[in-house]
Symmetry: C2
Subunit: 260 residues, 2 copies
């Protein structure tokens, strides 16, 4: 599949911020503290914390030509994890709920799934068995169930799902469960000419169907796990067909290998 490099020639600014420190209220703001009317707070949803001050000081320094920490625009890159970092991963990876919904929708065409794991576990709502198969099991579930489908068709299915499916515990659209402080951080970085990337263990086609509009990050700056694909000329309307085989798990050590 796809090869890409965002390390070479660039100083990679990998920013890790704990979402745990962010809330949408201002309890952390020191009493009596006022905001200057002359400046706009770039991170209004963040507590007035050391994390917030460090980020602002960092961006002031790297964009100041007279600072020793100055980074030229072409070298400004910030990469982010996704699940549990920019959107929620509770009560499980969002992609797992997509996979479950899809398996159930496709089950009538696959009577054999009733007696084949991991499909049986999905159809029996056996979340424990599904969870035990981990990220790899989840990706396989999505890949096997959509083998033979074009990436274009797959993405249109994901979009429809994202526009309608609701989180089982929060009862709102999954796309509503994005951390506001992190969206502010993305916008703040982009306004300072950082190229922002998502580098996630999540499925590439799944993320690219949802994230560009949701976060304002272009498709080609989203890097994730992939299945093997095949090219089909398709009588002059070429398509890329998804195969039932994992290509690369973009997680742990896989992340630095994959962005090289």
């Amino acid at each position: 599949m796809k090869k890409y490099n965002i390390i070479n020639w660039f100083v990679v600014a990998v920013l890790f911020f704990s979402v745990a420190g962010c809330t949408t209220n201002n309890k952390g703001k020191a009493k009596g503290q006022t905001t200057s009317t002359a400046t706009i707070d770039p991170l209004p949803s963040w507590n007035e914390s050391k994390n917030k001050t460090d980020i602002i000081n960092y961006l002031v320094a790297v964009t100041d030509k007279n600072s020793p920490d100055f980074i030229p625009v072409k070298d400004r890159i910030a990469t982010f994890d996704n699940d549990g970092t920019i959107w929620s991963e509770q009560p499980a990876y969002f992609q797992l709920f997509f996979a479950i919904d899809e398996i159930k929708a496709l089950a009538p065409q696959h009577p054999e799934w009733k007696n084949t794991q991991p499909f049986k576990a999905v159809l029996d709502n056996d979340m424990k068995t599904i969870a035990q198969s981990g990220e790899r099991g989840l990706l396989k579930l999505v890949m096997v169930s959509h083998a033979g489908m074009s990436t274009r068709k797959f993405k249109s299915i994901v979009k429809i799902w994202a526009d309608t499916a609701k989180n089982p515990t929060k009862h709102v659209l999954f796309t509503a469960l994005v951390y506001k402080p992190m969206l502010e951080l993305l916008i703040y970085l982009q306004a300072n000419h950082f190229k922002t990337y998502i580098v996630s263990g999540g499925g590439l086609d799944f993320m690219r169907a949802i994230i560009p509009e949701l976060y304002g990050i272009p498709s080609e700056q989203i890097i994730g796990s992939t299945g093997k694909t095949a090219y089909d000329y398709n009588n002059g309307d070429p398509v890329i067909i998804k195969l039932a085989q994992l290509d690369f798990i973009d997680d742990k050590d896989g992340k630095p290998i994959n962005i090289n």
Copy 2:
């Protein structure tokens, strides 16, 4: 390895231009034709041909908000082949000469190469046997000979080679053998806010060591063939190590699969 997508969400403007139609003289210019002093020719090295007029008309149309062919800036993408398109591939792929020079330099550490193909052919200057192994054979030659080396070290070796090695028939640096009309076209597209990509069968690390400075195309917009790699924490100075195994040949059907 690296997964990336430049198709989704974008209208991909794949531009194929034959270099055969370009020369640096103006023999093709109609007699008596004058250039307006009010406009600057964006493609001065091109013959006054239908190809040139078509390109200029195309760029005027897609950047005109009132044209039915208008393309929003975010969707402006142009992809180019490299060998024989932007730089020469005569008398053979430039990367082959790099591989030959490297094999000869590394041979003292590998006495077994004297009796092992394809290394024997290289050491014997047996170009016919080398050529028969094709693009795949060439990539294997580079990969096997540099297995165990970090991508960083590999790129520094390529840079030194590019700064010194000369084409055996033209007797100038390989980096001097870039088609001027194509560089003009790249600049013309970039000035009109096209994101320009190289999508080539050439080795990814090899191209990324040379092309960004030579063509003004950033490293992450260069897509090519890859070998497998491994991540090494290396006591806190992490590196990506090249392995002696092909990962993906970015040629023919591989190109659409790889840019998806």
